[in-house]
Symmetry: C2
Subunit: 176 residues, 2 copies
């Protein structure tokens, strides 16, 4: 499966496309950052982000989109812009009928590094290793977007196996 | 001028269209609410809100859009959805190149009632009086959307007069 990961932000919105399945090496398809100037009004910045996400959906045709889940308790000054960028990303994916999953930063850190409290450097290093890259993607928003896509494939795969096992168990019960 | 006011929200997004200019009676063009079910996923709710706002922009062709400014300090559980609905409203208007203004709840209350701490009932009563309606628009989100549109016309008009006075003063200085 091919997943577009999005680390939403108004100044820097990281995007990363990863392809693969659980149990096999994953591969990098694309990694980039949509940047918007703080000189622009917020609505214009959101329109630029929308256009950037649409372009990536057109170019890479992902099977699913994974977006970082934003919490209201993150009381930094940028939280509203981040929430709005995430909302725009959701709308872009939902308009196309693509499956959307929201993963928390802790879930992503735990998935790629085994530690829900890993720092940016550790996440970047693990993304580099998992995708067999020569250098860590910069800025951190780009690496985080790839980590989201990796998390989605691995969690999705695990969930698919659980679903299959439950379906098989239900099937066995049905045949008794 | 014709203004679309939007009181953003995920469950109820109020919209109101008001037409008029400062110093003359304003008139109601439309008032309604876009509702989305909490049974739906957030991305699908945002797509429904986008479609609703697009329909109102198509139907009423406003000259400007006024949206309630959301603050991160409003630490209620619905704040993220509200911020995202506001973001979607901004994108809809900005894509069309429409002027967008954000007004705080205090600014709106002060503009329509003269009291920045007016309650919902007072705002509803003033909207009803200003637009010479027979009944107060319900729910409060609908009345708030109209109050936003009224505020925009009144503040815009005042700003236009200030700009004109400054331009005239500059012109007089220029002719000395």
């Amino acid at each position: 499966m091919r997943v577009l990961g999005i680390d939403p932000g108004l100044t820097r919105c990281g995007t990363g496309v990863v392809e693969g399945t659980v149990g096999r090496p994953l591969s990098l398809v694309d990694v980039s950052v949509i940047r918007t100037s703080s000189d622009l009004a917020v609505p214009d910045r959101l329109v630029t982000i929308e256009a950037g996400i649409e372009a990536r959906l057109d170019d890479y045709r992902p099977d699913a989109v994974a977006i970082e889940r934003i919490f209201a308790r993150s009381d930094v000054s940028t939280i509203m812009g981040t929430a709005q960028a995430a909302g725009v990303a959701m709308v872009c994916a939902a308009r196309r009928g693509l499956p959307i999953a929201l993963h928390t930063p802790s879930e992503v850190k735990a998935a790629v590094s085994g530690n829900g409290r890993a720092d940016k450097t550790q996440v970047g290093a693990m993304v580099t290793r998992i995708l067999r890259l020569e250098a860590t993607p910069k800025p951190a928003d780009a690496a985080d977007a790839l980590a989201l896509a990796i998390t989605h494939i691995w969690r999705g795969g695990a969930q698919a196996r659980i679903d299959a096992a439950l379906a098989a168990a239900a099937g066995r019960r049905g045949h008794r």
